[in-house]
């Protein structure tokens, strides 16, 4: 090795160092960690699988859709949060929605985040028999957003022949949006409206970060309880008791948020 020029020697040393460290950190370390983890925490290391009647039905960590083949909510089950992972809760294509806080105008190829929120709120409201109204949403469940021009205003997310959510804006007549027309030049004005009480909670209208969120908030679970109790012919008190049983508080009292585990709750209902 001493006869090689120093720059070659350096790269040979580099290659050898990389190979040695690969064995240490890329082979021995993960194998040792796997061995010990499998021995001490077998269930967790293999995905915290959940069984029903001896058959694996899921993982305690991975959320599921409780919808039928057409994507409609199964009314006897508590519903999970919206999911942006593939067609919903697909562990092979995990994803968040990734749309920004001012994404309010629907495009020809996708709806805006605001419209998504409004549509989810309306659908959840209908399912639970409460109002799905929210600020910045139209009654028909899209984003209440105007494009204002000198002579007129257009409710851009309401395609004709829809009736605009307000008739006039600062003296200008509000029109529905004609498909294909470009309104980019107008000034964007989201309209808050006068909704004061919102019945559908925030987690019910937002996609989670992973798209696999196994939890919902306590408020969302309580909102769904009467419907599930009715559909299953169970006393509401019993369903509420099951919710409490499957609620996890904050770790050590201050970490994270209290949440309800949807899959375990639904499994408990199936067994009730």
């Amino acid at each position: 090795m001493d006869r090689m020029p120093s720059w070659v020697r350096q790269h040979v040393a580099a290659l050898r160092a990389l190979l040695v460290l690969t064995v240490a950190t890329g082979v021995i370390y993960p194998l040792l960690a796997t061995g010990v983890a499998q021995a001490l925490f077998n269930g967790q290391a293999n995905g915290s699988l959940v069984e029903k009647d001896g058959r694996t039905v899921g993982s305690a960590l991975i959320g599921q859709s409780f919808t039928d083949a057409d994507g409609k909510a199964i009314r006897t089950y508590f519903q999970s949060r919206p999911s942006a992972a593939g067609d919903g809760y697909d562990p092979t294509s995990t994803s968040a929605g990734n749309l920004g806080p001012e994404d309010v105008i629907d495009l020809p190829d996708r709806t805006s985040l605001l419209t998504d929120v409004c549509a989810r709120s309306k659908a959840a409201g209908q399912l639970e028999g409460v109002s799905g109204a929210r600020p910045y949403c139209t009654p028909d469940g899209v984003g209440a957003v105007l494009k204002v021009f000198p002579d007129r205003a257009v409710s851009v997310n309401q395609l004709c022949p829809a009736t605009p959510f307000i008739a006039a804006h600062q003296g200008l007549k509000v029109e529905c949006a004609r498909p294909g027309e470009n309104y980019a030049a107008g000034r964007t004005v989201p309209v808050r409206g006068n909704v004061t009480t919102v019945a559908v909670p925030a987690d019910a209208v937002t996609a989670s970060a992973s798209g696999l969120d196994p939890h919902i908030s306590l408020v969302y679970a309580q909102l769904q309880a009467p419907r599930v109790a009715r559909e299953r012919g169970l006393p509401l008190e019993q369903v509420k008791a099951l919710i409490d049983e499957h609620t996890t508080g904050r770790a050590l009292g201050f970490m994270g948020e209290p949440v309800v585990h949807v899959l375990k709750l639904n499994l408990a209902l199936d067994g009730a």
Partner: protein, 553 residues
């Protein structure tokens, strides 16, 4: 307990835990890097590598060793990805496309861990554990080695010798990163993180659908990806994935891991230069900036500004229910204040000002506390610039830690500082000026610019987090972001090491009445000020067009 109080306790408990570890871990790292003895494992490694562990290197040789190791690492990782279908444990994955393989190789070697791919559908077990996870270790160890060498520049006098790269690399990996990661991996598994080399399997869900189990050596990689401030997860959604970050307390642990080395290194620095107070001053600079930034980000997210958050009633889009808004904001701040890039929530859906804070954190050059190692040498260079500015005010040759900051030193420090802004701004400009660059934006308007600004900031500063809506898996972005990552990492390392070489040659200047004391609150305030002003002057126009334009309307 009210949510706000819980959020404050979460942050306070993290800061307390970091404060408690500062001294023991900092002292331990001091012993690791200054001890004369090699243990038996290390002696075997040095023999296998073929280096003399007791021979020290000049700064130029040290720099060439860093570069040689990194070049070989990039080539090795590139080859591993391109050939993965021929290798064992590939899970049936196809070879990675050339532009993506280049991007990923550079990304992991530079400690960036920008991921233009979706892990669960691109990389097999072997590439993940024997390729990507290895770089999680060694890229962090390289950063720490360079930091220690810069400190040696201040600590040593009248010498050309700055240490031995191979020894620093091996000790950092074997004595610091490996043991902590091993323990952390087991704790994460106890919490629910998976750790298995099994194959995919499927199950029928309660509602009759199908789900696939995505296996992986997750816990072992999660531990080092946070500890080494890397950020490259097994899965597309990174630490938001319940298999990587199953509970609210694993979330706390992961934030702790990604801050702990960077916040402890100033202690190591203080010990090496023989004055603890110098280390406390540096950690005070890091801590003040971090606390302000964490506070502002939490405030922005909890007040849920913007049309969509107002419609929702909370900034909850792209957050996991078990973490909630406040803890997610803490994770996001920590990951951008260090050079980590792990995410437990999706920054693209943050409020305009909250997302803007995250960009600002990275633009600070990631010095509060910054990446493992990279944060320390970054802030020491800012301290050099600060004593220079202070020296200009009183018309005196500046000194820092008994070393004269002359023309050569300040040129090297300025060169170091200028590289990243150049890459960020030119990169973003090139992306905005070309159709190939613009087409990656998911959102339009100012938020679209924020997405690209975030991408080039993240790459050039070796962070690796993203406004993830941006579709960067294209030849254009894979190539340009790869260049930004490579230049953003290796070009600054050379002037940093050159500066160390130049400082170590000097004879110490005795402190006099005119010497600026660099351990007092006054100096801490000056470094904070210089850091923020330098960044603001450089980037305010770009920030005004992106997050500020979106947030103020």
């Amino acid at each position: 307990m009210p949510p706000t109080l819980a959020g404050i306790l979460f942050i306070a408990s993290l800061l307390l835990a970091l404060a408690l570890c500062h001294k023991p871990l900092g002292d331990y790292m001091y012993r690791v890097y200054t001890g004369a003895k090699h243990n038996a494992v290390e002696r075997v490694i040095y023999r296998l590598v073929g280096v003399q562990p007791d021979g020290e290197q000049r700064w130029g040789v040290y720099a060439r060793s860093v570069l040689a190791f990194s070049l070989i690492s990039i080539l090795f990782l590139y080859a591993l990805q391109r050939l993965q279908n021929h290798l064992y444990l590939s899970l049936g994955m196809q070879p990675v496309e050339p532009a993506l393989a280049w991007n990923t190789a550079v990304s992991f070697v530079t400690n960036t861990n920008w991921q233009a791919y979706s892990g669960e559908s691109t990389m097999g077990h072997l590439v993940q554990t024997a390729g990507l996870a290895v770089q999680n270790f060694v890229s962090a160890a390289v950063g720490m080695a360079v930091a220690i060498t810069v400190v040696r520049g201040f600590a040593r006098t009248k010498t050309d010798m700055l240490g031995n790269f191979w020894v620093d690399l091996v000790r950092g990996t074997i004595r610091i990163l490996l043991p902590i990661s091993f323990v952390a991996a087991l704790v994460l598994t106890a919490g629910g993180a998976i750790q298995t080399f099994a194959d995919h399997s499927t199950w029928t869900t309660l509602a009759g659908g199908h789900q696939t189990f995505t296996p992986g050596a997750v816990a072992s990689q999660e531990a080092i990806k946070d500890l080494g401030t890397n950020g490259g997860g097994i899965f597309n959604v990174n630490s938001a994935h319940p298999f990587e970050n199953p509970t609210s307390w694993t979330n706390w642990l992961e934030i702790f891991l990604l801050l702990v080395i960077a916040f402890s290194l100033p202690r190591t620095f203080g010990r090496m230069v023989g004055d603890h107070r110098q280390g406390y001053a540096i950690v005070a600079v890091m801590g003040s900036i971090a606390v302000i930034s964490i506070g502002l980000t939490n405030w922005a997210e909890l007040s849920a500004g913007g049309t969509v958050p107002q419609a929702i009633g909370a900034a909850l889009e792209g957050r996991e229910a078990r973490f909630g808004t406040s803890n997610s904001a803490m994770f996001a701040s920590a990951t951008t204040l260090t050079s980590t890039g792990s995410v437990d929530s999706f920054h693209d859906s943050y409020t305009a000002l909250g997302g803007g804070m995250l960009i600002f954190n990275m633009l600070l050059g990631e010095v509060a506390p910054g990446g493992a190692g990279a944060g320390l040498y970054g802030i020491l260079i800012l301290a050099v610039i600060t004593v220079f500015v202070a020296g200009l005010m009183v018309g005196r040759t500046p000194e820092y830690l008994g070393k004269k900051i002359g023309a050569r030193e300040i040129k090297l420090a300025s060169l170091y500082f200028l590289i990243t802004p150049t890459l960020v701004l030119l990169g973003t400009a090139a992306a905005m000026a070309t159709e190939a660059g613009r087409s990656a934006m998911l959102n339009s308007g100012p938020h679209g610019l924020s997405e690209l600004l975030y991408a080039y900031t993240s790459a050039s500063n070796n962070n690796g987090s993203a406004f993830a809506g941006v579709s960067v898996n294209t030849t254009f972005h894979n190539t340009t972001l790869g260049l930004c990552m490579a230049f953003g990492r290796f070009v600054p390392i050379v002037p940093a090491l050159a500066l160390a070489g130049s400082l170590a040659r000097q004879a110490p200047v005795p402190a006099s009445a005119g010497t600026l004391p660099t351990h007092r609150p006054q100096f801490v305030g000056m470094v904070v000020g210089v850091t923020i002003i330098l960044v603001a002057l450089t980037f305010l126009p770009a920030l005004a067009l992106g997050p500020l334009a979106e947030g103020i309307h």
